[in-house]
C-alpha cells in the first residue's frame, strides 16, 4: 500500500501535537538556505542496555538480515548502519554504580567522580563539543529533550549523584544540561513565548528583556565581588545562564518557520509522550532552530513499565534477567519498541526534503545505551545504530564490526570530524578516529 505524504504525516501525529502543527509547519526556505556544509547531530539514548544476541546481525557489510530487535528498520535499511564492537571502559569499575557511570559518561567517555553531593565532575559531552563549535550558527545552540523529569524521592545509584543518571549532555565537567520533558515547554523554547503578541509589543518586550537581563547580570557580578568562593561559584552558574539567554534573546524573532498550534500541557501516556517529543525535535531540525539535540527515552536505570506492549514489570528490574527466558523475551520486546521509535524519527528526517536530498543526508542520528547486557552491567559490545549521511562522510546501511573493545570515544571523535569540528582527541580514550566510514 502506498501512502501519500499527508497520510504519513497524519500517522505520525502525537496527541498533544495535534495535526495543525505539522500541516502548517512545513518548513519554509529558512533551513534550505542554511550553508551546504551544515551538519546535524542527534543522540537517541535508551536506558538499561540491549540484549545483543537479538540485536547484532550475523553478517557484516551491506544487505544484512534484520535481527528481532531491528525489525522496525524494514524499509529504511539503507539509511541505518549497525556498528558493533565498541566499549566504554571509562564506565567500567569493580563496584556498584554502573548505571551512573555508564549514563554519566555515555556521551563524555570521561571517568565521573563518585559523589552524591555538589562536587560532581564529568567531561564535556560530544554533542556539546559540537554545539560549542557550531551552535552559534542557529538560534538554539542545542536542545536537551527527555521523558522522565526524574523523581525527587529515593536515591540514585550507589552513592552517585542523580545528575549522572538524569543527564547525558554536559556543557562542562561540572555543568549537566537538564532535559525538557514537557511538550509545551519545548515548544515555547523553540518558538519563544511572545509568539502571540502584536509586532509592536513584541519588539518592545524584546528590547526590555535584553536590558533587564543585562542589568541583573551586572547585579550578580557586583554581588559576587563581596562573596566567598563557594557562593561565587553559585553566582557563576547564574551569570553563565543569563549571558547565554541574552545571546538567544537578541537573535529571537528570526527564522521563517510557522510554529503552528502550541501543544497543551497534558499528561501523556509513555508512547504518546515519546512520539510528541520526537516530533518536536524533528520540527526543530526542520526549522533549523538547532542542529544539535539529545534525547533520553528515560534516565539511567529507568524503571519504566511497558504495559502497553505487554510488559508490566519495571525495565531496570527485569534487565537483571538472571538468564530467565521470560525476562529476556520481555527485554527484546522493549528494545524492539525503542528501536521503532528511533526508526520513526529517522524516517521523518529522511522525508524532510532539502535542496538536494533530505535532512537526513546532512545528519548523524546516533542510537545507543549506557551498557549492553543489563544483568552483568556490561560496558563492552555496546549497541550502536547510526543513521544519516553527514554530507557524504558516512555511508549508511552497513553492519560494521570493529575490533573488540574499540573505545566508543573514537566513534565520537570521528563524528566530530564528520561534522566539521576540529578535535585531536575526545574523552579519556578517544585518540584515533574511525576510518573508512564513507565507503
Amino acid at each position: 500500500m502506498s501512502w501519500s505524504r499527508r497520510q504519513l504525516l497524519l500517522r505520525g501525529a502525537g496527541v498533544a501535537l495535534a495535526l495543525p502543527v505539522l500541516r502548517s509547519a512545513l518548513p519554509r526556505a529558512s533551513w534550505a538556505a542554511a550553508p551546504e556544509s551544515a551538519g546535524r547531530f542527534l543522540a537517541f539514548y535508551v536506558p538499561n542496555g540491549i540484549q545483543m544476541p537479538w540485536f547484532t546481525p550475523t553478517t557484516e557489510g551491506a544487505g544484512f538480515a534484520l535481527p528481532d530487535i531491528l525489525r522496525s528498520l524494514e524499509g529504511i535499511e539503507e539509511h541505518v548502519s549497525v556498528l558493533t564492537g565498541f566499549a566504554n571502559l571509562q564506565a567500567e569499575q569493580q563496584s556498584s554504580g554502573d548505571h551512573a557511570r555508564g549514563t554519566g559518561s555515555f556521551l563524555t567517555c570521561s571517568p565521573i567522580r563518585h559523589t552524591a553531593g555538589n562536587d560532581i565532575e564529568n567531561g564535556v559531552s560530544v554533542d556539546q563539543a559540537i554545539a560549542q563549535a557550531k551552535g552559534h550558527e542557529t538560534l538554539l545552540p542545542s536542545l536537551q529533550v527527555g521523558i522522565q523529569p526524574g523523581g525527587n524521592t529515593g536515591d540514585c545509584t550507589a552513592g552517585y549523584s542523580c545528575a549522572y543518571t538524569r543527564n547525558i549532555a554536559w556543557a562542562s565537567p561540572t555543568t549537566p544540561l537538564p532535559n525538557i520533558t514537557d511538550p509545551q515547554v519545548l515548544f515555547d523554547r523553540m518558538f519563544g513565548v511572545d509568539v502571540g503578541l502584536d509586532p509592536d509589543k513584541r519588539a518592545l518586550r524584546k528590547q526590555l528583556r535584553a536590558s533587564i537581563l543585562d542589568e541583573v547580570a551586572t547585579e550578580a557580578t557586583s554581588l559576587q565581588t563581596r562573596l566567598g568562593l563557594d557562593d561565587k561559584a553559585k553566582l557563576d552558574e547564574y551569570l553563565t545562564a543569563v549571558r547565554e539567554v541574552e545571546v538567544r534573546v537578541s537573535a529571537l524573532g528570526g527564522g521563517g518557520c510557522e510554529p503552528g498550534e502550541r501543544p497543551p500541557s497534558a499528561t501523556l501516556a509513555h508512547a504518546e509522550h515519546v512520539e510528541t517529543m520526537t516530533d518536536l525535535m524533528v520540527l526543530a531540525l526542520q526549522c533549523d532552530l538547532t542542529r544539535v539535540a539529545t534525547f533520553m527515552l528515560g534516565p539511567g536505570a529507568s524503571n519504566q513499565t511497558y504495559d502497553f506492549i505487554g510488559v508490566p514489570a519495571a525495565h531496570h528490574q527485569i534487565s537483571h534477567h538472571q538468564g530467565n527466558e521470560k525476562n529476556l523475551d520481555d527485554l527484546v520486546r522493549i528494545a524492539s519498541w525503542e528501536v521503532e521509535q528511533y526508526a520513526r524519527l529517522v524516517t521523518r528526517l529522511a522525508e524532510s526534503p532539502m535542496e538536494d536530498g533530505s535532512l537526513l543526508d546532512s545528519s548523524l542520528v546516533y542510537f545507543g545505551s549506557e551498557i549492553s547486557d543489563g544483568d552483568s552491567h556490561h560496558h563492552r559490545d555496546l549497541p550502536v545504530l547510526l543513521a544519516g549521511g553527514a554530507n557524504g562522510a558516512h555511508l549508511s546501511g552497513v553492519h560494521r564490526r570493529f575490533a573488540e573493545d574499540r573505545p566508543i570515544a573514537e566513534l565520537y571523535l570521528w563524528m566530530l570530524h564528520a561534522l566539521g569540528v576540529e578535535a585531536e582527541s575526545f574523552g579519556a580514550d578517544g585518540l584515533t578516529p574511525l576510518t573508512g566510514m564513507d565507503s
Binding site: Q94, G154, L204, Q207, P264, A314
Partner: protein, 667 residues
Amino acid sequence: MRWILLFGVVGCGGGGGGADAGLDAATADPGRVVLHRLNRAEYNNTVRDLFGTALRPADRFPSDDFGLGFDNQAHVLSLSPLHIEQYDQAADELLDELFAVGFIPTATQTIEAEGPDVTADNGAVWDLTGWVLWTEGALSGDVWLDQSGDYTLQVDAYGLQGGDEPVQMAVIVDGVEVDVHDVEAEASEAFSARLSLDAGMHTVSMAFLNDYKDPALGIDRNLVVDRFALTGPLEVPRTPPAGRGLVLTCDPAVVGEGVCVAQITRDFGLRAWRRPLSEAEVATKLQHYTTARGLGGDWNEGVRAVLRSLLLSPHFIYRGTPNPLVGVGRTLNGHELASRLSYFIWSSTPDDRLLQLAATDALTDPAVLDAEARRMLTDPRATALIDNLAGQWLGIRKIEEAQPAASLYPEFDEGLRASMKREAELFVQGILLADRSALELMSAPETWVDQRLAAHYGIAVPDGPGMHRVEVPDRIGLMSKSGLLAALSYPTRTSPVVRGKWVLENLMCTPPPPPPPGVEGLPAQQSDTAMSLRETMEQHRSDPVCAACHVKMDAAGFALEPFDALGRARTLDDYGFPIDATGTWGEGGPAFDGPTELAAVLVEDPAFPTCIASKTFTYALGRPPTDTDDAFLAEIEAAFATADHRFTDLVVAIVQSRAFREQGVTP
C-alpha cells in the same frame, strides 16, 4: 573500591550521630549554608504569597537537583540557562495575570478509546491504541468540567474502509448530535468542533453509522476511534489575582505615575527580595521603567518591566546569606533569620509580620523567635512541612511513583492512588503538627480512609465522602500505610529488600552501603522445587559478608511481607508460600513477628528520635549535619526528648540553635 574493602570490617550503616562531649554548643562553629536557590515548591509558594495567585509556574521548571534525601539542599541545587528562560516566562505569566492581560490558560482532558474510562456498544481494542466499532453503535466517555464556557472537542478517528462509501461517524454530546463526518482517512485524523458547555458532567459519544460487510469480497467497513479531548474554557479573560492590591500599592492617577512606580518598586522589592532595597537599587530598577516609557510603552508596561527585573534578580532567586570573604562568623540579621524561618516552616517567603519584626531586629530575641515559630506552626501554610519535609523523608511523594502492573493489580487506578496519598498526608499531619509525640509515627493506631480505601482494606465502609479517622486492626504506624507499601514494591511483587532498605535509611538513618557488584536481582531458582521468597533470599543470612548489612534490612522487610504490593493484608507471599514474618532486630536483639510487633520494637530504638532530629535539621538548614554539628544535635535532641518528642518543640529547638541563627566561616 572502598566499600568492598571495608565491608566486613566496618559493618553496616551507622551514621556519625551521637554527642561528642568535647564540643560545646556555645562555642562550636555553626557551619555555613551556601547561596540557596529557590526550589520548585518554594518558588510556587513564594509567588502564591507575593501575588495571591493560584498559578504554579514552577511546575514546568526542570526537576530540582536532589541530594541527601531532599530537593532543598543549597549546595546541590544548580542553575542552567533553561532555568533563566523559565523564570522569565514565569514572570510573564504572573504579570499577565496581574494586569489582566489575555486569557486564562486552557486545560485539556483526553480520554483514550482503548483505556478504562469509556463504554462501548460493541467492538474491541484495535492496534493497541484505539477502539474499533464492528457494527453500528457508539463509544462513549464522561468528562467533568469545572467551568462553564466554550470548549474545543477534538475526536481522533480513522476508518477501515470498504465498499462505496467512506466510514461515517457521528459526534454526540449529552445525547445531542453535534456533527456527522465522513471519516476517509485510514490513519488517525482529527475532527474538531467548538461547543458551549456548562460546568458539570458531560457524555461524549462517537457513533458508527454505516456498517457494511461483504464476506465474499472480503470487505468489512469499520470505524476506529483513537481518542477524544476537550480543551477549554476558551478565551475567558483573565481576572487579576487576589493579591493585586499587595503589588500595585498605589494609584498612579492619585499620586502621580513617577511616585507610584517608585513606591511599587520599594514595596514589592521588600517582599520579593525579603529585605528593603537600598536607594541605589531602587534607582537602578526604575531605569527599566524609564526605558519602557521611552520606547513608547504605557505605565503598565513600565511597571511590568520593573517587576520583571525584580523577579529575575539573583536577590529573588537565591535566598540565604552571602558569606563574608574574610573574618569570623556572624549572627544573622533579622531579615536573614525571617527568610530562613519562613522557608523552613512554610517553604515560602516571610509574611508581613515577620518582615516587620525583622526590620527592628526583634527576631534576634530568643523569646520572640520562639513565639513566631510557634505561631507559624499553627498557620495553614505549615502544611508545607507535610508536603515537602514529610513528603520526601517519609515517602509520601513516593506514592506518586508507584507503578503496580495493571495486569496483576487491575484494582489500582489514579483514584486509589489519590486516596492512599491523602491517607499518608493526614496520618503524618495528625502527629507532627499536633500535640503528640513524633515517635507515634511508628506506633499510632489510627489511620484515615475514604470509601475507596476502606474497601481496599476490607473494613467497614464509612458513610459519606471524604476521609474518616478509623482504627484498623493490625495496622499501626507509618509502615502499614498502603500507599507507602505500594511505592516500596516492584510492579509485579513485593520486595523485602526495598522495604527494609527504606526503613533503615529513613526511619533509622542507618542506610546500608550499596551491594557488591554482580549480585543485583534474585538468583535463578536452583532446585526443582519452587521456593518461597524468604528461602530464595537465604544467602543474605547464611553468607557472613552479606549478613552484616542484610540482617536488619531483611528482618524489617520480611516483617512487612503480610502486606502485599498494594498494601493489602495477606498470608501467602507472591510465590504462593505461607509468609514467615518473624525476625530479630539485629543479632540477639528483640524479636518480632509481623508489622505490628516490628513497629513496637523500632519505636524503642534510640536511633529513631535521633533520625527524626537529623532529617529535620538537614531540611531546616538546607545542608547536612557535619561532625562539628554534633554539639548542636546533642542540644537539639535533649530538648526534643524533654518535650516528650513533640515535633513542634523539635522545630523550635532547631530554630533556637546557633547552627540556625548564625553563619560560620568554615565551608
